[in-house]
């Protein structure tokens, strides 16, 4: 069930340079929210652009409140950063598909880059107990951009860090750790999940395909309606035509996307 509600903001905190965590009282929407799904929101303040903006759900208390983590990159996100507790936002959700492991999956390698990490942390919180092993690979430009407190919230999950400046974990891109992590995943039915920049998703989907592993990736494309009605959010489909990020996705099979067309190679 999808909802649209005037949600009160109960928290809107700066958690790092230009990164914020917002908690929203969304009522019944919270109990239907799964990792990978998103909310599509707008503020009632003048100056908000024409369209809503999509944000992945970072956590849900299952009762009435959800959290999102966002980076200020433009007009809408900068207006959001000025919201104070008690203000209301118009929130649609939960929308789109989610990261749910296949019934036979026992081990998951999850690859998160930048703003792609929070939804995977939500995934770990929800599914880690039911799996034999979860290995979360976290990539960021620098330590300060690892914005969610991963160690605290995903107990029992193996976490490896990659930073481009080497300030935490290994120096380099998270995809450098991907193949070794897949090789180390060993016995059992391994599944790969990824959320982050487009090139990272393409690389991850490629590595999973080489090994014949099920791979689920969360894609981003500019959205208007958020519910599959307007056909704005087109993502090139393997074999021709387009998928729609808001309805077929955002979480798609890695093999379903035509990565060459989408990354412009």
């Amino acid at each position: 069930m999808k909802y649209c509600t005037r949600a009160a903001v109960s928290r809107n905190e700066r958690i790092a340079e230009s990164f914020y965590l917002m908690e929203l009282d969304v009522g019944r929407m919270a109990s239907d929210s799964s990792p990978g799904q998103f909310v599509h929101l707008r503020s009632l303040t003048p100056g908000w652009p024409f369209l809503r903006r999509p944000f992945s759900i970072y956590s849900s208390d299952g009762e009435g409140s959800i959290e999102i983590v966002y980076k200020v990159v433009g007009k809408a996100t900068s207006l959001m950063s000025g919201v104070t507790p008690g203000d209301t936002l118009d929130v649609m959700g939960p929308l789109g598909t989610s990261f749910a492991p296949a019934a036979s999956t026992t081990r998951v390698v999850a690859v998160g880059g930048g703003m792609g990490v929070p939804p995977l942390v939500f995934f770990c919180r929800k599914y880690a107990d039911a799996l034999d092993e979860v290995h979360l690979l976290v990539g960021a430009k620098t330590t300060a951009e690892i914005v969610v407190p991963i160690g605290l919230v995903v107990e029992g999950v193996k976490v490896t860090y990659y930073t481009e400046d080497g300030s935490k974990g290994a120096r380099g891109l998270v995809t450098e750790g991907l193949r070794p992590a897949l090789d180390a995943a060993g016995e059992g039915r391994v599944e790969v999940m990824a959320c982050g920049p487009r090139d990272m998703l393409a690389e991850t989907a490629g590595a999973a395909r080489e090994r014949g592993l099920r791979c689920r990736v969360s894609v981003e494309e500019v959205m208007a309606c958020g519910v599959g009605a307007c056909l704005s959010c087109a993502v090139p489909r393997a074999g021709g035509g387009y998928l729609h990020a808001c309805k077929d996705g955002p979480v798609l099979d890695g093999d379903a996307v035509d990565w060459e067309r989408w990354t412009g190679e």
Binding site: M1, K2, Y3, C4, R42, P49, F50, L51, R52, K75, D90, M92, E221, V222, A224, C225, V227, G228, A229, C230, L231, S232, C233, A234, V235, P236, G240, G241, Y242, K247
Partner: protein, 301 residues
């Protein structure tokens, strides 16, 4: 008081219609919007063959409006008739929008729909700015418009709505041509050809390079055209473009429109359509109007 209208033989319980391309096939908003206050919704434009649409990005947010370049992505008439149409389940009428690259394409789509139940009218899209062939190329040319309308008219008895582009230079001639060849109503208008360029990369922001402008920025242009056409043609007009409030819809009716379509506003506020109908009823009650006809075209006087 009644808000029922007769749009060239198409009788609607409400003058509010969902504009083509914004409402999918009706079920996408099932959990979210109550369509009972709509007279009808217009489907995405259906063409003779499936179309995959244009490369992303397909929309640019301008704040005061929106440019889209969807490129008429649709399943094609065979799949539409075979699968989609029967599955549409909405508490209002269905108007099917049809498009094509050639006159023959329009005729073949219209003939496939002629025998189908569940279709209240056809809206002939001769105004899409986002396709390489057809679309607006017909709607900017009175002779091409006449040829399309004549061919479609020959295939169907359903009420026909010609959807025109917002091009002040030619719209009067095009409107007359459409009326002369059997259009029962005119929808005014489609999006305005438009573009946006990223000055850092030096490249157009849309994958399809150019697109069509919708939203509030389009309203004064389309309103002007409704006003002009109300003096030129005898068939009913449907106002389309930038309607966000009941006041916007009332302006179109005062300019001469019998009905109106709501489009891009759904991207902003899901309750806008029901607020528009409520506001319209309040206005009519306050002014003592018993029907839309009581105040339609008053601004013409």
């Amino acid at each position: 008081m009644s808000i029922e209208v007769d749009v060239g033989g198409l009788k609607l319980g409400s003058p509010m219609i969902g504009a083509s391309g914004l409402w999918g096939f009706g079920d996408e908003y099932a959990d979210l919007i109550d369509l009972t206050r709509f007279g009808a919704i217009v489907t995405k434009t259906i063409t003779a063959r499936p179309r995959e649409g244009n490369a992303p990005p397909r929309v640019v947010d301008l704040g005061y409006g929106l440019i889209n370049s969807i490129g008429l992505e649709n399943p094609g008439i065979d799949r539409f008739v075979g699968e989609t149409l029967a599955a549409i389940d909405v508490p209002c009428d269905i108007i099917v929008s049809i498009g094509g690259e050639t006159v023959g394409d329009y005729a073949s789509v219209a003939s496939r729909l002629a025998g189908e139940g569940g279709v209240a009218a056809l809206e002939v899209n001769i105004s899409c700015p986002n396709v390489a062939k057809g679309g607006i190329a017909f709607g900017r040319d009175p002779e091409a418009t006449a040829a399309v309308m004549r061919a479609v008219r020959a295939e169907t008895d359903l009420p026909l709505i010609a959807k025109l582009p917002p091009l002040p230079g030619c719209v009067e001639e095009v409107a007359r041509a459409a009326e002369a060849e059997g259009a029962d109503a005119l929808a005014v208008s489609n999006t305005l050809p438009a573009m946006s360029i990223d000055i850092e990369s030096g490249r157009p922001r849309l994958g399809g390079r150019t697109g069509g402008l919708s939203g509030p920025a389009l309203k004064p242009v389309a309103l002007f055209l409704v006003h002009r056409l109300a003096a030129v043609v005898g068939v009913p007009l449907i106002g389309v473009g930038g309607i966000e409030t009941s006041a916007d819809a009332i302006e179109y009716i005062l300019a001469g429109a019998t009905a109106f379509e709501v489009g891009s506003v759904v991207f902003k506020w899901l309750n806008a359509p029901s607020d528009i109908v409520m506001g319209l009823e309040e206005y009519m009650a306050r002014k003592g109007y018993g029907s839309i006809e009581d105040f339609r075209g008053r601004a013409q006087l």
